[in-house]
């Protein structure tokens, strides 16, 4: 339990199973192999070290230091540098050491990259990899889920995979995409879940949600690590038919799938680990309240991080963060509504 941070292991449906982290490393290596324009840059990503989480370990040896570039501590600068590289047709994969530090690069992302194509046709085909999420006692500065800032910003694409297969398939799609894509990795999943991932090229289209559990009573719409929490909560209330939609891409949202999932049960629970206030869940709930209103049989329930920084100490963080019990309770209440 302690080792997988309370997340259920994805069933190894035959074939080889690899971890969420291995899936990400694999996608990077295969794309670097396939396209010489792909390179990696960030703090400590190079050499034998291979990054704070070792995602890029071995790449420098294999592809050379020029394609696995160690940077100084200068997120604004090296993300801006990635903008220029991308304009020239390179496809930089920028690693933020923790998603929390993406705020340091903010202008280079929201003011330059997001609008360059709209304003004058400048293509910015980079990917920012951001190890996000908490639950692992890392405190306010190594546990953040900042995706809402970027979903609110026109011109970006935002991804948050929940399984090794999606992590590999969506990262591959992100690297090949001609737009700036922010790829939020749920770091509590890095080594805690394994899953089946097809050998070789595996691409999952950006912008498509996935129904990961069928059920006719209550619909849970979520993404990232919370997909597993939702699954465990659903397991704990076997008498309720819970349908789970894994958004996978947060911008652009798969509105069709969202409306279908909402209308399928008429009872919707939207959840994420990020702060609930003005989070992506608010957008999802608001879309449903406008477009699928006729199908609703009950209030749209939202569960998310509390409106506080992410606290360090276990009793506080466990209260800050959506838990299996809270979700299970909400499922029961909704079902009984």
């Amino acid at each position: 339990m302690n080792d997988n941070f309370g997340f259920s292991e994805a069933p190894a449906s035959g074939g080889r199973t690899i971890t969420y982290l291995e899936a990400i490393s694999e996608a990077i290596a295969e794309e670097m192999e396939r396209d010489e324009n792909v390179l990696v840059l960030g703090e400590d990503v190079g050499g034998e070290f291979g990054g704070a989480f070792k995602v890029t370990r071995g790449l420098a040896e294999r592809f050379g230091d020029d394609r696995v570039l160690n940077t100084p501590i200068a997120e604004l600068g090296f993300t801006g540098m990635a903008n220029g590289m991308a304009l020239m047709g390179l496809r930089p994969i920028v690693e933020m050491q923790f998603a929390d530090f993406i705020s340091t690069a903010f202008d280079s992302i929201v003011q330059f990259a997001a609008s360059a194509h709209y304003r004058w046709g400048g293509k910015i085909p980079w990917v920012i990899r951001a190890p996000s999420d908490g639950g692992i006692r890392s405190g306010p500065y190594h546990s953040q889920n900042p995706e809402a800032w970027f979903v609110h910003t026109p011109g970006l694409k935002v991804i948050a995979p929940s399984t090794p297969a999606d992590a590999k398939g969506l990262l591959t799609a992100a690297i090949r995409d001609d737009n700036p894509v922010i790829f939020f990795e749920a770091k509590p999943l890095y080594r805690s879940i394994r899953g089946h991932v097809p050998e070789g090229e595996h691409v999952v289209p950006i912008g498509k949600a996935a129904t990961v559990r069928e059920g006719s009573d209550v619909t849970i719409i979520t993404y990232g690590s919370m997909v597993h929490v939702a699954g465990q909560a659903a397991d704990s209330v076997p008498d309720v038919g819970v349908r789970i939609l894994d958004l996978r891409t947060l911008k652009p949202l798969d509105t069709e799938a969202i409306f279908e999932a909402a209308s399928a049960t008429g009872k919707v629970l939207v959840m994420h680990a990020a702060n609930r206030n003005t989070g992506v869940g608010a957008e999802v709930a608001a879309l449903i309240a406008e477009e699928a209103f006729e199908y609703l049989d009950g209030p749209i329930v939202r569960i998310g991080g509390q409106d506080t920084p992410v606290p360090f100490s276990p009793p506080l963080e466990d209260t800050y963060r959506p838990s299996v019990d809270i979700v299970a309770e909400a499922i029961k209440t909704l079902a009984a509504y």
Binding site: M81, M88, Q111, H117
Partner: protein, 320 residues
């Protein structure tokens, strides 16, 4: 290196065209025939034209809001630029970005300008790095103001440009003011060339109103970068002759300061020199001036006649 007479007369032509554009723009906006704001670059002609002419055809430049001459030399026609200023579909941003913002055109090796200071710097470094990583003999150049120099991204960019020995050239346009703020309220000392030493980057201070000196300095920097010698910082000593933007009367600028700089007008400078050296005659240069005026009047007519964007295209291009 020595510039031929032809090229220097060409330089005079570009500077005159830049000045003519600027004068016409200021007049239009003052008459209320403009749209939104606009920045005059009066006094910066030598810098922007020298940068444009010293760059090779395959090099890339990210000009800032007062580098009008660079756009023109690189081949962005005056009618397109007026089109952008007037929000017309014929502007390089098709009505999406304002004044000289966002006027990128990679077919001309131009990166679009972003308002947020100093975004052009790390972006241009990235362009330079792409040249280095691909082993191309190309150079990337950008400019920063005295004000922009104090911004954090400038430090990060210069440090990385030096660390990676990128083919990167930076011109610091020291025009004595950041909006209303004089140099002595921006930093203790404004010796920009010396500050480059903190990054182990070779640098030089140049009279930014002397085209020949500017051209030589920029060419040297570009040549060093092309030969693998890494980045260069060029401090261009100049003066912003009008307000920050056209709405700004710049009452905060001492009259005598402007007087002193008027005597150093970059366009007049070059003209005087070309005549003294008998590189060109008054008649020749008067003809150049008339041509510039004509081109600008035609450009304005074309831009004014051009259509506004179709509202139904609002969402086009959000994604590539």
């Amino acid at each position: 290196m020595e510039l031929s007479s032809e090229r220097r007369i060409e330089a005079y032509a570009w500077m005159t065209l830049t000045r003519a554009f600027d004068d016409a723009m200021v007049a239009m906006w003052k008459q209320g025939r403009g749209l939104g704001g606009a920045f005059s670059q009066r006094g910066h002609e030598a810098i922007s034209v020298a940068a444009g002419m010293a760059l090779g055809p395959d090099d890339v430049v990210a000009p800032m809001h007062r580098d009008l001459g660079t756009y023109l030399v690189r081949g962005m026609t005056p009618d397109r630029i007026f089109g952008n200023l007037l929000g017309k579909v014929t502007g390089p941003t098709r009505g999406r970005d304002a004044n000289l913002h966002g006027m990128g055109d990679l077919t001309l090796g131009i990166i679009g300008f972003v308002s947020h200071i100093p975004q052009a710097l790390p972006t241009t470094l990235g362009v330079a790095m792409s040249f280095k990583l691909r082993g191309e003999r190309r150079v990337a150049l950008t400019t920063v103001g005295d004000g922009g120099f104090t911004s954090g991204g400038t430090h990060e960019t210069l440090n990385m440009a030096s660390l990676y020995r990128a083919p990167f050239v930076l011109i610091v346009e020291d025009n004595k003011y950041a909006y209303s703020t004089p140099l002595d309220q921006q930093m203790r000392s404004a010796r920009f060339a010396e500050k480059a030493a903190a990054y182990d980057i070779p640098s030089v201070k140049v009279d930014g109103n002397d085209f020949d000196a500017m051209y030589a300095a920029v060419f040297t920097g570009i040549d060093r970068a092309r030969e693998g010698g890494g980045p260069t910082v060029i401090e261009a000593d100049t003066m912003r002759m009008l307000g920050h933007a056209i709405h700004d009367g710049a009452e905060y600028v001492p009259a005598e300061m402007l007087e002193a700089w008027k005597a150093r007008d970059p366009v007049e400078n070059l003209r005087r020199r070309l005549l003294e050296e008998e590189t060109a005659t008054d008649e020749q240069l008067d003809a150049v001036d008339r041509t510039a005026q004509l081109k600008i009047q035609e450009a304005i007519a074309t831009a004014v006649a051009a259509p506004m964007p179709d509202p139904s295209t609002l969402h086009e291009g959000v994604y590539a």
